[in-house]
C-alpha cells in the first residue's frame, strides 16, 4: 500500500483554487475551536436563505443570548460572520466552499493529535495497492503513518453518503487487509448523526468497517486514538 498525489486534472486545478481561498482557512480555523452548537450555527447559516445577522442571532439564543460569556459570544459572532460570507456566494461556489471547509476542518482536527500525526496528514491523495487499478477520485484527507494509516472522505451533508464513496472506502480497507496493512477508513459528515444513520440504513454498499463521524462527534477526530466507531 502506498500513497500518491492525485493527478492535477482540470477539476483538481479548479477545486484547488477553492481550497486555497482565505475564507476556507478562516472558517476552518474558527470551527476547529468550536463546539457543536457553533458548528450547527455554521451549517445553518451556510445553508441559509436569509442574510440578516440579527435573525440568526435570535435563532441561536444559546450562543448569542444575554447570559452567554463575552468570549463565547465573540467566537459565535466570528463564525456567524464567516458563514454569512459563504452564504453570500453563488450556489455552485457556495457548495464547493462548504465542502472545502469540511476537508480543511478535518485536516486541522486530526493534526491536533500530536506532531507525529500532524506531519503525516495529507490532502487529495490516492492509495495504490499491488495489482489493483487505482481509484480515480482521491481521498480528501489521509493520515500516512506506518501501521495506523487512515483515509477520510468529507461530506457537507448526509445526502453525500452513497454507494460510490462507501464502495471506494471499503475497497481500500479490504485491499489493505490483503496486504496486511492496517488502514482505517471513514466519512466525516458535517450533518447530524441521526441523518447519517437514516442515510446509511438504506445503503446496501458495505460500510460496517467504515467509521462515520457526524457533526456532533467531530471533536473525536482530534483525540489521540481517533474518533470512536459510530457504527
Amino acid at each position: 500500500m502506498r500513497f500518491q498525489d492525485a493527478a492535477r486534472d482540470g477539476r483538481a486545478v479548479v477545486y484547488a483554487a477553492i481550497q486555497a481561498e482565505p475564507l476556507v482557512a478562516l472558517a476552518a480555523s474558527l470551527l476547529v475551536e468550536a463546539g457543536t452548537p457553533e458548528r450547527l450555527l455554521a451549517r445553518a447559516v451556510m445553508n441559509g436563505e436569509r442574510t440578516d445577522p440579527a435573525g440568526w442571532r435570535r435563532m441561536f439564543p444559546a450562543l448569542f443570548g444575554d447570559g452567554v460569556p463575552a468570549t463565547e459570544r465573540d467566537r459565535a459572532e466570528a463564525i456567524l460572520a464567516v458563514s454569512l460570507q459563504v452564504a453570500d456566494r453563488g450556489e455552485q461556489v457556495r457548495s464547493q466552499v462548504r465542502g472545502a471547509i469540511v476537508e480543511a476542518l478535518t485536516e486541522r482536527l486530526i493534526a491536533r493529535r500530536g506532531p507525529t500525526v500532524a506531519a503525516a496528514v495529507r490532502r487529495e491523495r490516492r492509495i495504490l495497492f499491488d495489482g489493483v487499478s487505482a481509484e480515480i477520485h482521491p481521498y480528501d484527507v489521509t493520515v500516512e503513518v506506518d501501521g495506523r494509516a487512515e483515509a477520510w472522505d468529507c461530506k457537507w451533508g448526509a445526502r453525500g453518503i452513497g454507494p460510490d464513496v462507501l464502495h471506494q472506502l471499503d475497497d481500500a480497507r479490504t485491499h489493505a487487509v490483503d496486504e496486511d496493512e492496517p488502514l482505517s477508513v471513514g466519512l466525516v459528515v458535517f450533518d447530524a448523526e441521526v441523518s447519517c444513520r437514516v442515510r446509511l440504513d438504506r445503503q446496501t454498499a458495505p460500510h460496517d468497517g467504515t467509521r462515520i463521524v457526524a457533526i456532533e462527534a467531530l471533536h473525536g477526530l482530534a483525540e489521540p486514538a481517533g474518533p470512536a466507531a459510530a457504527r
Binding site: T36, M59, P61, G157
Partner: protein, 100 residues
C-alpha cells in the same frame, strides 16, 4: 400573560418540519430518504413534547423557533429543503435547551 409551553413550540415546529419534507419530496430520487429523515426527527420532537411539553418556554426559545420557521418557510428549492430537514430540528432542539 402566561408563558408559552414547550409543547406549543414543538407542535409548531413539527408542522413546519412536515411542510419542509413535503417540499423536499419534490426530489423524486430522495423521496424515501426525505420521509425516513422526517419520521426520525418527528419522533424525536414528539418524544421531547411528551417529556417536557408542560414546561414553560425559556427566554429566547420562542423567538428562536419563530426565526427557524421563518427561515425554512423562505426556502423554495427542494434540495435546500432536504439540507434543512436535519438542521431545522437540531436548531429547535438546541433552542429548548437539549443537546441533540
Amino acid at each position: 400573560m402566561a408563558s408559552a409551553l414547550v409543547r406549543e413550540l414543538l407542535d409548531r415546529a413539527i408542522l413546519a418540519h412536515r411542510a419542509l419534507a413535503d417540499l423536499g419530496e419534490e426530489v423524486e430520487d430522495e423521496w424515501t430518504y426525505v420521509n425516513d429523515l422526517h419520521d426520525a426527527w418527528a419522533a424525536r420532537l414528539t418524544q421531547l413534547a411528551d417529556a417536557r411539553g408542560d414546561e414553560p418556554v425559556a427566554a429566547g426559545a420562542s423567538d428562536a423557533i419563530d426565526e427557524a420557521i421563518a427561515e425554512i418557510e423562505a426556502i423554495a428549492d427542494p434540495h435546500r429543503a432536504i439540507d434543512w430537514l436535519s438542521t431545522f430540528p437540531q436548531v429547535v432542539v438546541l433552542a429548548i435547551g437539549e443537546r441533540g
